[in-house]
Amino acid sequence: MDVMPKWADVILIPLISILLAAMLSAMVILAIGENPWDALVLMVQGSLGSTYGWGYTLYYATNFIFTGLAVAIAFHARMFNIGGEGQALLGGLGVALVCLYIPWPHWTLALVGAAVGAALFGAAWAAIPAFLQAKRGSHIVITTIMFNFIAAALLNYMLIGTLKVQGSMEPASARFPEATHLPSFQDMFSFGETALFRGAPANVTFFVAIAACIGLWALIWRTRLGYEIRSFGHSESAAKYAGISPTKIIMVSMLISGALAGMMAINNVQGEAERLVLNAVEGAGFIGIAVALMGRSHPFGVFLAALLFGFLYQGGAELALWTSIPRELIIVIQALVILFTGALDNMVRMPLERLFLAMRRA
């Protein structure tokens, strides 16, 4: 017997959590002598008030959708993949190699090629921790986080060596050829004189991310593989009884997870930077954990949570630009949202459940 109706569980609790986080953030802003209401208005205007703002918000959201989905699918198999950061870095390497060394005739083909490259590299990076977990019982949390460091070191090595442009002082790859450049929102939504999304980095990858949400939803709830993954995630002993191989499920779910994290690189490496630079992921792999927690590992929830974090990222950047609120404080606000939606779920849930019980009895 569920204590609360579904809508309260899915919508009301995250909403109250966000409100609580916002209130606490407001107090922090008040404490450093700024007006929280003005700050909120600035954040909303900066991230949602113009197509330019939206262009940034959706760009960040695209990153978070991929890393959020990556964490979500692993969660369904009760695997905690916190290696999204490293897998996305490796995905970037895959994209760079595909774009630099294969002569693509058109961006559509390049997109497909880069997606495959990103997915393969990301999956390969997740495969090693997955194998160690499945066969040796090495804890996936430990191994994936260590692989983040290895990935960063590997990328550094590649960018000051093999991939660096000859004679350049910058640790970055060469620019990708013109034919691999993805259409940005500005290219797609400009009609004559009125150019929307001018200068914003959002690009066609956003639609790939939406497709990934739908695809993953179908995988989890409509296919036999998804059924087996969920079975394993809910009860390993029952999965064994049913003849579902734990090794297979751990490997497959982590490969999908790594592939999704890797595919983030289509957005930031191919779509935005159009070359591979140092630290291209910028923490999006870790944000993915918060996004998946808040989205309750449901692709649609991940989509909404990614939008929220996109808003926080872009709004936060605007705050840092126009007010005396330091950039670090933005991270505090983001951390508060993560704390309330992810870690303190029960703090909101339990009083709410009691409330619903009282209402039902009355």
């Binding site: 017997m1 969920r230 079975s231």
Partner: protein, 534 residues
């Protein structure tokens, strides 16, 4: 006696969990120096009531009187202070502590341990003499048998000066001989003026030892009667609310060809402990082979090997063809393809996924079956739901709603969902583990009928149960397991609980000395061995 204040009196206790009313206006008087039985089906509210008495839950309404004085019991500390001791179904002992350390734990006199331990050692000696509660104070808990662990729990309560002892399903894990020993201890305690509340679902125990019995049904106390004035049939009727068949009606078995042949099956676990030490038996079409034994003597491993998720050496033939016991392809799927269906011992951990809807559980293990697929990639959820609805109707699952999660069904209905899934695949061999564990009496009758009906269709059935009554009434042949071996086979009509009980304790011939001592000696070694698993 009559003008004496009751040891415990509960007045109008009510407790609700959300929309579920677990206890409804319950009043009960337990007289001092008596054994008071509380009987009822699973979910009738017995455990909730005792949890309120022991301070785990707070009652929504009602009052508790201890020896005539109104007492508030906000937590278990207060319960202990009021002289109440509780022996839980699942023991709360520190496995790697000694008996003595467990007894003292939480009741130390001072920061220094030595004086407390010395005092406890003296106290234990007195208690042992007084009540036949003999334990070795220096034995490590994980090395001693279940019977002794239970005695340690009782000693813990007595050491804390408990006058009122509550025992929750105390015989679930004991052999018949151990249960007899426990009952003798309880009688000794009663003689010394202690008050005992015995919670059980076994009618036989109620009849054997209690002075008064209260029956609970759906959160209400339906009757309190003197045990001498009632009988099992009447109690069963009070529990369920209708007449129940306590015996299984079945025709003589029509034994057919050999379906399952097991030869020299051996299992060694990760720690190198031999779980199965070379067992051999067969099961024929149209036959129920019952495996009796105390939990933890290799029955679970036997089911797991046959069900495909435990590796073993030896030979297993199904319909005359050998099955692979070790290879990579040896899993639950390969077994199902060979016509083996399996109702596992623990339906909540293995048979069902509690968070899945009933319809998702209906396909569990058979999710590769053609009629559940829409295409190569996608499953046909609609077909699963239709199938679940039909199965629920045939097996009388209540409520018949495929969209409910497995955890929201009662134990009996959960078991029916598993049984429906496995039986309706029309297997050649059905493995059944503890088919009625945690299942209410009404559903037990139905489940037994289904198993017998499958036998009468000419299927082979391997039944594992720790309930001797169930083994005796269902089986066409009985094998007794002890310490990973089969101690012997008996025909149900030619044996009784006493003989099976001895076999379950590893004794093949009548011992000469006092019976229980021999059993104890055996259990101290073998029982310890069997408990090293965790």
């Amino acid at each position: 006696m009559t003008d004496q204040a009751p040891a415990i009196e509960l007045k109008g206790i009510s407790k609700a969990f959300g929309p579920v009313q677990a206890n409804k206006d319950i009043s009960i008087r337990v007289m001092p120096g008596t054994i008071h039985g509380i009987i009822g089906e699973n979910g009738a509210g017995k455990s909730t009531l005792m949890s309120i008495l022991y301070g785990f839950y707070k009652a929504d309404a009602g009052e508790i009187y201890i020896s005539g004085r109104k007492t508030a019991i906000p937590d278990s500390q207060a319960a202990i202070a009021a002289g109440i001791g509780m022996v839980f179904q699942h023991f709360k002992l520190v496995e790697n502590f000694t008996v003595l350390e467990n007894v003292v734990l939480g009741a130390e006199d001072s920061a220094m341990l030595r004086p407390s331990l010395a005092r406890a050692r003296r106290e234990l000696k007195n208690l042992a003499e007084e009540y036949e509660l003999n334990v070795d104070p220096d034995a490590i808990i994980q090395d001693v048998g279940v019977g002794m662990q239970q005695r340690v729990e009782i000693l813990k309560a007595l050491y804390r000066k408990a006058d009122i002892l509550i025992l929750d399903e105390p015989t679930g894990v004991l052999t018949p001989a151990e249960a007899d020993h426990l009952f003798r201890i309880l009688e000794n305690l009663r003689r010394e003026g202690k008050t005992i509340i015995l919670i059980t679902h076994k009618l036989r125990e109620i009849m054997e030892i209690t002075d008064t019995v209260s029956v609970m049904r759906r959160g209400e106390m339906t009757a309190t009667v003197k045990t001498a004035d009632t009988n099992p049939a009447e109690l069963a009727e009070l529990m369920v609310g209708r007449k129940v068949l306590l015996r299984v009606d079945k025709a003589p078995a029509q034994i057919g060809r050999k379906i399952l042949e097991v030869q020299d099956l051996k299992v060694t676990d990760d720690k190198g402990v031999h779980r199965l030490k070379g067992i051999s038996f067969d099961v024929h079409a149209g036959e129920i082979l019952g495996i009796a034994g105390v939990a933890g003597n290799g029955q679970s491993e036997l089911l797991e090997v046959l069900g495909g998720y435990e590796k073993a050496t030896g030979k297993v033939l199904v319909n005359g063809e050998e099955i692979d016991l070790t290879g990579a392809k040896s899993d639950g799927q390969s077994r199902r393809k060979r016509g083996i269906a399996h109702v596992p011992e623990d339906r909540q951990r293995e048979g069902l996924i509690m968070d899945f809807h009933a319809w998702e559980n209906t396909g569990f293990g058979y999710h590769h079956a053609d009629h559940y697929q829409r295409s190569r990639l996608f499953m046909d959820n609609a077909a699963l739901k239709r199938d679940t609805e039909e199965k629920m109707a045939r097996f009388d699952v209540r409520p018949p709603d495929p969209n409910l999660e497995a955890k929201s069904f009662s134990g009996g209905n959960q078991q029916k969902i598993v049984l429906a899934r496995e039986i309706e695949r029309n297997p050649d061999l059905l493995l059944v583990g503890q088919p009625t564990r945690g299942v209410d009496i009404g559903a037990i009758e139905f489940i037994h009928q289904q198993i017998v009906a499958l036998r009468d269709q000419g299927k082979a059935i391997l039944l594992v149960s720790v309930e001797l009554e169930e083994i005796l009434s269902l089986s066409d042949r009985i094998a007794v397991m002890f310490d990973g071996k089969i101690m012997g086979e008996r025909m149900p009509q030619e044996t009784d609980e006493k003989e099976l009980g001895l076999l379950m304790a590893g004794i093949t011939t009548e011992p000469r000395g006092p019976l229980h001592e021999a059993v104890e000696a055996n259990l101290a070694t073998a029982g310890g061995d069997a408990r090293k698993e965790v």
